[in-house]
């Protein structure tokens, strides 16, 4: 029963994942992503991680996806070809496909270099128990994994600043550059700018 459910959910997740890439309307992409999140949280439940499953639903499906939907609705985004034409930036899908395929081929090479035979893997992580209790999770997070926890906070801060730096408008009348930074370099400036 659990095995059948696992395969059903996996196929669902993969299909939804493919849908995210294939769909031409951004709205359908988002809805497919939502489906993928639901399937994933189902898999977490099967593995016995209730807390993760609920968090997945609350945070991703609940909060983040709604945000995505809002943005898409507000910006009134239509067909993605239209978007590509308007923005004028051609992100070469072919290059990306080549890169993705290379990763796949790379994995295949890995298989070939390893030789023969697939034996069922007894995973070591199945032996870890008690990870789902919230208390255990919290204790681990603030003792053993404190440093990565702090590093993650730095990561979030950095991402936030980066996004703001890119998104904020340049104030009108702000000079693009004022020349070399050292007091002893007082040369005439060229007026050209890359901006």
């Amino acid at each position: 029963m659990a095995e059948t459910l696992f395969y059903l959910l996996s196929i669902g997740a993969i299909a939804c994942g493919a849908g995210v890439i294939r769909a031409r309307m951004p709205l359908f992409s988002v809805l497919c992503l939502l489906g993928a999140f639901f399937c994933l949280s189902g898999i977490y439940l099967l593995a016995g991680f209730q807390f993760l499953a609920v968090t997945q639903l609350l945070v991703y499906a609940g909060a983040i996806m709604v945000l995505f939907l809002f943005v898409i609705m507000l910006l009134n985004l239509g067909d993605e070809n239209e978007i590509a034409r308007q923005s004028g930036i051609a992100l070469s899908g072919k290059q990306l496909a080549v890169a993705g395929t290379s990763a796949g081929v790379f994995a295949l090479i890995g298989v070939l270099t390893a030789g023969y035979g697939i034996a069922p893997v007894e995973t070591a992580s199945t032996r870890a128990s008690g990870i789902d209790e919230l208390q255990t999770l919290a204790v681990e997070l603030f003792s053993r994994y404190m440093l990565p926890f702090e590093a993650a906070s730095l990561l979030l801060l950095l991402t936030m600043i980066g996004v703001i730096a890119i998104a904020k408008r340049q104030r009108a009348g702000e000079p693009t550059h004022t020349g070399a930074g050292f007091p002893w370099t007082k040369e005439p400036l060229d007026e050209e700018s890359t901006l």
């Binding site: 930036i89 992100l91 070469s92 290059q95 990306l96 080549v98 890169a99 993705g100 290379s102 990763a103 081929v105 790379f106 994995a107 090479i109 890995g110 298989v111 270099t113 390893a114 030789g115 023969y116 035979g117 697939i118 034996a119 069922p120 893997v121 995973t123 070591a124 992580s125 032996r127 053993r144 404190m146 440093l147 990565p148 590093a151 993650a152 730095l154 990561l155 950095l158 991402t159 600043i161 980066g162 703001i164 730096a165 890119i166 340049q170 104030r171 702000e174 000079p175 550059h177 004022t178 020349g179 070399a180 930074g181 050292f182 370099t185 040369e187 060229d190 700018s193 890359t194 901006l195």
Partner: protein, 511 residues
């Protein structure tokens, strides 16, 4: 409590950088976007403090050996070597930002913040055996790089660079995370040391045990993680982003991407491969598999250097040419990793040190040149040699070093790389690399020819003494580091690296 403070002391360089980044950000806000040069100076001071702390640490490691902080950060000479060079290149990049004429000088505190954030990421990447922290460091570095690549908001090329970088980077991070999650599932630990050799009662299964039971999942996991690293250091099947991103990003950022980011990626790659396959105590079966991974890396190295050099031949833009040249150099460094010996690793570290000097110089020249002409194509270089002799001659030194000719550090770096590869039985790879060096001579020489052997085009005479001074110093370093008195200590430092990773020194006969 005391133990806690002691551990904080071990990660003091990281803490100083974090404090510096927050200080820079707040100060810029308080100054309400007036001249940002003060922030540049503050950054330099902070980096100097970090560098001093690292030097103290280097000395301390000689007495006490490898230390671990918070069970995750491994403080060893391998990591400290790369951290010192990261700080050095960061300082040079900061000077470039301050001196670049194409850069805004107001309200760019975020620029410095993101650069410092990227180097914190690099610090974590080079000094951890824990895959979780490694991934966080990698993401810190990557996310800062994405934002920096798109920092010139008005420029379409810059926006394109940021978009391409984030899409490719996201894909590679996903691939790598998939590999890491497989490794965790197989071994039950995120610690590379335990993966290589799991003692009784550690609750982990060593990779070798899993490899004996079922080679295929192990192979897929290892190769997927390697693919993630390959993206970061732009090794060939995963190099597509490099020329576009390097071209579109602001040139100081390109410098950081080509130098700091790439070296950090290589450091993490070497540590990963070393811990899994070459450390004392790993089983024979996985060592044999490591040799096959080495062969795979050797093939990638051959393809990377050939493709990078052949593409560089055709470039009209100096920036794109340097981008392809950096791909080719990734191939050379990969030779060291592919040799799967401690000599090979030490050679790769030495070459990366050389690469820091010569590429910082080459990109610094590019910034100077862009500041003077506003263009970046090789044809506009005409007559640079006569109008700006000091800078042009410095560039010649960097070009000679990049080609790998004596008396520069580039020559000696290549020499020990070739020796290490021959010792590891990769003579065919050395032949390919030698042919590639000859090919690279053509396009590097084209730049020199353009500067000296052609009629000057009329241009506004303009000098940037600050930049010229930095380039001079870098050129002198590039030459001196290749000469006896300075090359031997550097060689010694590079040799300390694999030793501190406890990678056994193999002799050629036993393999």
């Amino acid at each position: 409590m005391n133990a806690y403070i002691e551990q904080m002391g071990l990660i003091a360089p990281e803490l100083v950088l974090t404090a510096l980044s927050l200080f820079v950000l707040t100060w810029d806000l308080l100054k309400k976007g007036r001249n940002s040069d003060h922030i540049g100076y503050a950054t330099l001071v902070g980096l100097a403090v970090t560098g001093w702390l690292l030097l103290q640490q280097w000395g301390m490691l000689g007495d006490k050996g490898t230390q671990t902080a918070f069970g995750m950060v491994t403080i060893d000479r391998f990591g400290t070597f790369f951290k010192l060079f990261t700080v050095g290149s960061m300082a040079v990049v900061t000077l470039f930002v301050m001196l670049d004429k194409n850069e805004r000088k107001h309200g760019i505190g975020e620029y410095y913040f993101l650069l410092i954030g990227a180097s914190i990421g690099a610090f974590f990447m080079v000094s951890t055996n824990n895959l979780l922290l490694l991934m966080l460091g990698l993401e810190l570095l990557s996310l800062a790089s994405y934002s920096l690549a798109g920092f010139h908001k008005g420029s379409k090329r810059s926006a394109e660079a940021a978009l391409k970088y984030i899409v490719f980077g996201g894909l590679s991070a996903g691939v790598m995370l998939y590999g890491i999650s497989l490794l965790y599932g197989l071994t039950g630990t995120l610690d590379l040391g335990l993966m290589g050799h799991a003692p009784e009662g550690s609750g982990a299964v060593s990779l070798a045990t899993q490899f004996d039971a079922s080679p295929i999942p192990v192979a897929i996991a290892v190769v997927l993680v390697l693919a993630g690293f390959a993206y970061k250091v732009s090794v060939v099947p995963f190099h597509f982003w490099t020329p576009d991103v390097y071209e579109g990003a602001p040139t100081p950022v390109t410098t950081f991407l080509a130098v700091g980011s790439k070296a950090a990626g290589f450091a993490a790659l070497l540590r990963f491969v070393g811990a899994l396959f070459l450390t004392d105590g790993v089983d024979a079966s996985i060592v044999a598999y490591g040799d096959r991974i080495g062969f795979l890396l050797a093939i990638l190295a051959a393809i990377t250097m050939t493709l990078g050099n052949l593409s560089a031949l055709r470039q009209g833009s100096l920036k794109r040419m340097l981008a392809y040249s950096s791909i080719a150099h990734a191939g050379y460094v990969l030779m060291g990793a592919a040799s799967m010996t401690s000599e090979g690793f030490a050679a790769a570290m030495f070459y990366l040190a050389a690469y820091y000097c010569m590429n910082l110089g080459a990109f610094g020249f590019l910034i100077y040149f862009e500041g003077v002409t506003g263009k970046d194509d090789i044809d506009s270089l005409k007559g640079m040699g006569w109008r700006h002799p000091v800078v042009a001659w410095s560039m010649v030194v960097f070009l000679v070093a990049l080609t790998g000719l004596p008396p520069t550090v580039g020559f000696y770096g290549k020499l020990i790389l070739f020796y290490a590869a021959i010792d590891a039985g990769l003579a065919w790879l050395v032949i390919i690399a030698a042919i590639n060096s000859v090919i690279s001579l053509f396009y590097y020489f084209r730049v020199a020819k353009s500067m000296f052997l052609t009629e000057p085009v009329p241009q506004v005479p303009m000098r940037q003494h600050g930049l010229a001074g930095i380039l001079c110093v870098l050129a002198v370093v590039t030459v001196l580091a290749g000469l006896g008195a300075f090359k031997d200590p550097l060689r010694g430092w590079a040799d300390e690296g694999p030793a501190s990773l406890e990678i056994y020194a193999t002799d050629a006969g036993s393999r």
